[in-house]
Amino acid sequence: MALLDVQELQTYFHTEYGLVKAADKVTFHVNEGEIIGLVGESGCGKSVSILSVMRLIPSPPGETVGGKVIFEGKDLLKYQPNGREMRAIRGSKLTMIFQEPMTSLNPVLTVSRQLTETLELHLDMDKRAARERAIELLRMVGVPDAPRRIDDYPHQFSGGMRQRVMIAMALSCNPAVIFADEPTTAVDVTTQAQLLELMKDLVTRLNTSLVIVTHNLGVVARYAERIYVMYAGRIIESGRSEDIFGHPRHPYTVGLLNSVPRLGERHGTRKLIPIYGLPPNLINMPQTCAFLPRCTEKIGKCEKEPWPELRAVGDDHYISCYVDIKGK
């Protein structure tokens, strides 16, 4: 039994231009102590999916209209988004690390205040204990001189350090699952690697699950055990990391991997092939496969039949496509 089981999650946005199915029947699960990757281009619905799980979709304009999010045997979608039950889980058992370290911390509160408030709320610590624990957390995420820096304000930290504070915050109540939404996109490459190593270390040590949401294949290749690839609001391929990278089966995943260089590959041995065209506009989409206009492998059936559901093509390997590129 998976720790967190998301089934056919549907989140729609009502925009002035029409209905946007930002997450359409998204299904994934997270096992205990596992690192998974949610990969896709900008705007494919990966952030929306995890914000829906956390019940943080701003409404209006957004609304989670269908599906189930089973966590500890309870369906989170049955709760009020900001009701007591949801608040008790949010920030303690399910936590988030956001993309923008520069804007995700409150500029007028000290780091200490922002760290201790979750501890006081969820773990019922008194001020003193919470402060001790906060210092310990900062040490854990590698903030130097933690006892002194804890009373500083966010603007006195660098981007990388602020993201470490965010990580400390996410870890503070020993969560079951941490969702990291593009955690390293806004920092430079060296810091990126340091932060990822840090997160991997910590979650392994604490046996916490980690969901990394990213558009960067390199990030997930190295850390994720299982990968979900999203396109236009749907999961189009999922499987173990080595299967996805070694034997991709969906034309989009194939295209994605062909368009990026790989580590250890000699320069010039393989030509990088871009995916032509642009991601679809999610408003009033046709019934057929959303990747169709850009697909190089399409067959006659694709034009006529609706977008297929996920089907198993191997051991724990699923794709939503009529074509199976196995053997190519």
Partner: protein, 322 residues
């Protein structure tokens, strides 16, 4: 923080000096010499030739107006630093005494206007932001939009008509010093304060509401939600202080607006305050009084802006440690 405050004080002093120049130059550089304008007005004939040239020159010399402008300015400003604001042409009294009589009145009603306007506006704005989209929010926002457009003096007259004339609840106009008879003075200031405070409430409510909404959309408020905090905690701890930064920054402007409004309201309600003093002086071409009272108004605004800057530094750590 100390360095920040000292820097703000120095800038404030510098601007105050520039304001004295502006006021002085505006009064002196406009066409016609003050004696001519004063005398023409004083005799009520509109003619400028009521004095012989000799009398005119004697008057100029007596007032020191025959000297070059920079010298006159220096003379004026050095006297001000000694607490001497000059002498009124009209009533033949030291201006500092005139101002000492009227300034407390303006300050007293101005204080109430400011308090009612600011706190009323804050409460309405925060309420509307938290209950946005409800009928009460829509109603209050519409009233605030209309409140921004009401001329202060017209509102004063309207209030007099209904509350004094029709209902007889308050006196129609006049003034009683609160330190002479506090309760009677209250009945005199209710309508003047209400007239100006309504515009203040409207402006402050609009600003507060939009700042609160702005802050609600920020990433750090989303982070706060993600922590599982209650709405009340998020509003009080995470939103209010951030939303107050632009609101506090605007308080200097609010005070300036209220001072401006009090000029009209003193005319409507016949309150002998700073605004009346200056208006009357303009009518009499009593240029010394005009200069002095404009300077006082400027000084109050500069001083309150200084207070705002310090409050800003206190609220926003990015300024405090900047």
């Amino acid at each position: 923080m100390t360095a920040y405050i000292i820097r703000r004080i120095i800038i404030g002093m510098f601007i105050l000096i520039l304001v004295t120049m502006l006021v002085f130059l505006l009064v002196r550089l406009l066409p016609g010499d003050p004696v001519m304008r004063y005398m023409a007005n004083f005799t009520g004939t509109g003619q400028q030739n009521v004095m012989t040239p000799e009398q005119h020159d004697a008057m100029l010399i007596k007032l020191g107006l025959d000297r070059p402008i920079p010298v006159q300015y220096w003379d004026w400003i050095s006297k001000i630093f000694r607490g001497d604001l000059g002498e009124s042409l009209g009533v033949q009294q030291p201006i500092s005494k005139l101002i000492a009589d009227v300034l407390p009145r303006t300050a007293y009603i101005g204080f109430w206007m400011f308090v009612v306007g600011t706190f009323g506006g804050l409460l309405v704005g925060i309420y509307c932001a938290l209950r946005r989209g409800t009928w009460l929010d829509n109603t209050l926002t519409t009233i605030a939009n209309i409140g921004m457009t009401v001329p202060v003096f017209w509102l004063g007259i309207l209030l007099i008509y209904f509350f004094s004339f029709k209902l007889g609840w308050f006196p129609m106009y006049g003034w009683v010093n609160p330190w002479d008879d506090f309760w009677r003075s209250c009945s005199y200031i209710v309508l003047p304060v209400a007239s100006v405070a309504l515009g203040g409430i409207a402006g402050m409510a609009r600003l507060t509401r939009s700042c609160m909404l702005e802050v609600m959309r920020t990433d750090y408020v989303r982070t706060a939600w993600a922590k599982g905090l209650r709405e009340r905690v998020i509003v009080v701890r995470h939103q209010l202080k951030n939303a107050m930064i632009p609101v506090v920054t605007s308080l200097g402007g609010t005070l300036a607006m209220i001072l401006g409004g009090s000029v009209f309201i003193e005319t409507v309600f016949s309150i002998p305050g700073m605004g009346r003093l200056m208006t009357t002086a303009i009518f009499d071409y009593d240029y010394q009084v005009v200069q002095a009272s404009a300077l006082i108004f400027g000084g109050i605004v500069i001083f309150s802006n200084l207070a705002v800057d310090i409050a800003w530094g206190w609220l926003d750590p990015r300024i405090r440690y900047g």
